[in-house]
Symmetry: C3
Subunit: 385 residues, 3 copies
């Protein structure tokens, strides 16, 4: 009970929070190579000589309370709706020209398109035959591109994100913000969050977020993953509300040790006409901003309730007490004899009957007093009233 | 109380969960017709001879904890910013050339653009006149396209989705995943979830999800809707944590019986230049992954608390007991007379004063016994037993 | 306790809700000017003569439980991957041709691209020199565009949004919808929500939402912001479930008084080829639909529990009672003497020993006072103290 009241602040009412979070990523990365260089097996030669800015690598451009930063990309540019050989890696894609198993009009299992029925030579490996399909052609050749064992956009490690978090404690009608009013514009431009040296700065370096979460950025960037940015508002409004400032913590939210289906990637396309597009398979890190919070203020009701339920426990004491006295102690026999003593109750007719009701017994004593002169008279006097 | 403790696991502390979910849809569908065929009333002849793959039908490409699969589409291709007749179905669009009601510069109510002021012949129905508008032209003709009473992408019924769910029980620092480490890559490629035969497989066939939710896929695909995929982690860590596996359930989250504004659709456009785009009105099923979970482990505190509050109830017993004895029983009059009897308290000065305090009365009796022979005898008789 | 039971409906079990929300915005806006007109300092002359419809200003086209409406836009059209002067406003962009500080191959801090190493004349201000960068060129010139101190799409104030909210109370298996079955199609087309005159209409005018939240639309539209649309289902199913209708309320969720980093904006691009795009910096209002709800129904268990914990409190009464009697009242000395009086217990062997056990003392009095003169004397002696 003491614990419940003092340690767990049992004397406060708590307010939950309404929160809104917006994020803004900054930074640009440059890649300069042709897929030919780092992977001769690629069918489609893609030119990666280009700059990647926010509009390129944040997909979708805005999400509520989270943001995704692309770290690794497989581009399949200039696809058109036409026919081409299916990817040999797709189950059921490989076929035998002499005994054609490609069924026209049915889609390839887990594949990219609809089989035309023809069995043609693969455009990757001239020795294998695959079903021809009607699809966005050429089909993507799914290889995880790496430059020197690093993800293409490993430079994203230096990107920064400004997190604007606004919380309201409706019960107390208090509004707080993670950007302190004390900070000024130049500070906001320059500062970077650091758990010890700069815990109040709302600008985070992506690499440091991942490091704080105990992960290796380059490893994570290759396959992608999910990181939680947890903002904790634990405020005690018995003090000045300016002491109510958020704590940040970071945790990886997907399984780093996953043996199967590791990481996080998805595909999207930019359409240049109804019949031409560039397909992007993007690996990346999704940052989810989770806002926890509660604010406490002194209040009588919870205090009483805690006392109440606490006292419930006291009831146990008496019970246990009796048990010890009556069944454990050496003298238990005697005490028992005293506690349960036989008694007579004299009912209205004045005759005496044996009673087993305990409560009655107690009274019995009282009423046996009847003939101790004082009490007796007194009873009369009472009746005569 | 017993219930609270045993049945409701009152002896455990519970940990909430941090969860992350990523999804990946696979499959391709093929449509092959011109809008002319299945709906002669359409103004814009659209060619639907094309393949639809993930990048086409999952819009937006990634969402946190949910995904949308297009099932029915109205394409309005090659729109340009120019002037054209408004859709006659728009309220206030129809006009009378002799008494022109089209106000230049004001937008049509719920319409597609800005009225130029001209009243022109509709491009759908030559008999009606409509206001000319400056807009993305030609304007969309909103008809729900069906092939043989089925949604265009009814084939999406066979698409599969891999759901990766990772949960953490922070209090116990336990991490679990819905992809069991026991399963291997080939298993993951081949398996399909089934409530009885294959409850551990994280790959779901969309058609079966909808069926499990008790809905008809084709009906739902036509108008769109929302399906909840509920992942339930109810774990008891008093046992081995490998017994902690998720349960899946499925439920439709929008109103199947809605008379009005049924289903779920939205519009988006692919831009081919600043002045040309293709507009897509997509109907589809949004799958929302909801993760519930709690983990329990034995702990003393909650046990005590439950006992405490439980004992509170016992207090009722005595109260009720008295009530019965004093107001219900035949002998109540008598008992009452005994329970409340007038008494004297002899104060320091030794004089007698009338007291109403009950506690005092009790003591009164106790000390007045001194000269009460009966009680004594009675006690003797008892001891001699 | 009474409060807990009657006022706080302590006699009901409550069911949480499963909810799904879909939204659909309607309306079109027209802008007709060249950036030259309203801001001569702009480098890139953009033609804003165009119509903005849903597919243009709702980005991304669909979000779960929220939607974003663009209110202000900075267009940078026809960017290509090439080299151009960096924006002078970027820290570290300005350079001195005589003492070139531009490091080839390193990105500009918070900038748009990768420095080529050259120090060239700015295309905005011919007097300043800036580092040349490889980037999406020309780079955006970030100025908040206003027409007569109003946001470009201030007309969005008249747009409407249809909010479809469906809730389920799993415990009671009751499903409710914010579109009442009583309303018909024409009503749905015509009606607009109003807190007093039309609280049941699910169609909201954006301008009125913001007004209800106590904000000025034009001010908010310029810089952007976040508005919460709160739908409250507080249902008592002891009555007919048709009385279970939602209440709407509106609140701004970001800080209107923020001195720094005010509002909400983000960038996205439309790609017209792998090497050409139009960049959009959009300010706007994000509307987040928050659904709270609980449903109550009579049930015995919670009633008992409340009574139980309530009675716990009663225990306090007796304790306090004694304290008053023994330590506060004028007569306390006397009462104490009565409550704690020394006594003898005659054990089985019949000898008398001094006992400290209180319970025993009571019994002692009942039977043995009579012939123990000591106790009596002792009482006297005590009183004389």
């Amino acid at each position: 009970m003491g614990v419940a009241i003092i340690y767990m602040k049992g004397y406060q009412t708590f307010s939950s929070i309404e929160s809104s979070t917006t994020t803004k990523v900054k930074g640009a990365a440059y890649t300069n190579f042709s897929t030919k260089e780092f992977n001769p097996h690629l069918r489609n030669i893609e030119d990666y000589r280009r700059i990647w800015d926010v509009a390129d690598y944040v997909v979708p451009p805005s999400e509520s309370g989270s943001f995704f930063v692309t770290t690794n990309i497989v581009i399949t540019s200039n696809q058109t709706q036409s026919t081409c050989p299916e990817d040999p890696e797709i189950p059921g894609a490989v076929c035998d020209p002499n005994n054609n198993t490609c069924q026209a009009g049915t889609p390839t299992l887990l594949g990219n398109g609809m089989m035309t029925g023809a069995c043609v030579t693969s455009d990757i490996n001239s020795k294998t035959n695959v079903c021809e399909i009607y699809a966005w052609c050429p089909v993507e050749q799914d290889l995880n591109p790496l430059i020197k064992n690093k993800a293409l956009l490993s430079a994203s490690k230096n990107f920064t994100v400004l997190i604007k978090n606004f919380v309201e404690f409706p019960k107390f009608n208090i509004r707080r913000r993670n950007i302190l009013d004390t900070s000024n514009k130049t500070y906001l431009r320059g500062c970077h969050y650091h758990p010890r040296t700069n815990p109040a700065c709302p600008i985070f370096v992506l690499g440091e977020i991942v490091a704080e979460a105990g992960e290796d950025y380059d490893a994570m960037a290759t396959k992608g993953g999910v990181i939680a940015i947890i903002i904790e508002w634990d405020c005690n409004f018995d003090y000045d509300e300016n002491y109510c400032i958020p704590k940040y913590s970071f945790r990886r939210l997907d399984d780093p040790k996953a043996k199967l289906a590791k990481g996080w990637n998805f595909r999207f396309a930019n359409y240049f006409s109804d019949n031409t597009r560039s397909l992007y398979k993007v690996y990346g890190i999704k940052y989810v901003v989770i806002v926890h919070g509660k604010g406490g203020k002194f209040n009588f009701v919870p205090l009483l309730i805690n006392i109440g339920s606490g006292l419930g426990l006291l009831a146990v004491a008496t019970v246990i007490g009796d048990i010890i006295v009556l069944y454990v102690l050496k003298k238990r026999k005697y005490y028992r004899s005293k506690k349960f003593q036989l008694a007579f109750v004299e009912d209205e007719e004045g005759s005496c009957k044996d009673k087993t009701d305990l409560a009655v017994r107690k009274r019995k004593n009282e009423n046996c007093n009847s003939d101790c002169p004082e009490t007796f008279k007194l009873n009369e006097s009472q009746q005569t009233k």
